[in-house]
Amino acid sequence: GAGVSQSPSNKVTEKGKDVELRCDPISGHTALYWYRQRLGQGLEFLIYFQGNSAPDKSGLPSDRFSAERTGESVSTLTIQRTQQEDSAVYLCASSSRLGSPLHFGNGTRLTVT
């Protein structure tokens, strides 16, 4: 597709369960980012992938969060043992080159009950 694609669009899970969120970046975009947006708040940086370099994981809030990306393709964000405070919209973005604006996906709305 032409844009960043994320799935699922909505996810409701029980506290303590693991969830996996998926992001398909725009083809050819080497940089991929995950952000979290809690209700009424700005975007919090989680993790950044650039090509085959080691990812910048400095924004991950705890060791329950992890993300992977194979090459310059799909990325998955995994949250283990979900907690209610993990409820948020998780946004993925990609960009084509250094300094170019981000293109965001529609996000996954995660609700932990």
Partner: protein, 112 residues
């Protein structure tokens, strides 16, 4: 800690009004400031500003940056109901968008 503050938090206007949204920042490093429009979920890119005093314009939207006073404004003239959205400001410290610092946004509602 880098900080981006947007004001007002919310704004309600009528169609045809002109609005000005504010974004101030305190960051250790600065490369560019970006404005995004967020409807529903996905923010869409509006402007990237790197130099002071140069207005960027796109239709009824315009934006300018003041690097001395550390702020930017986003102007929307002749507002329409389709302009209703959250407008996000972000500062990029490195030019790589590696760790954008976002403000919490301004919720704009344009009434018919």
């Amino acid at each position: 800690e880098d900080k981006v503050v947007q004001s007002p938090l919310s704004l309600v206007v009528h169609e045809g009004d002109t609005v000005t949204l504010n974004c101030s920042y305190e960051v250790t490093n600065f490369r560019s400031l970006l404005w995004y429009k967020q409807e529903k979920k996905a923010p869409t890119f509006l402007f990237m500003l790197t130099s002071s005093g140069i207005e960027k314009k796109s239709g009824r939207l315009s934006s300018i940056l003041d690097k001395k006073e550390l702020f930017s404004i986003l102007n929307i003239t002749a507002t329409q109901t389709g302009d209703s959205a959250v407008y996000l400001c972000a500062v990029d410290p490195s030019g790589s968008a590696r760790q954008l610092t976002f403000g919490s946004g301004t919720q704009l509602t344009v009434l018919p």
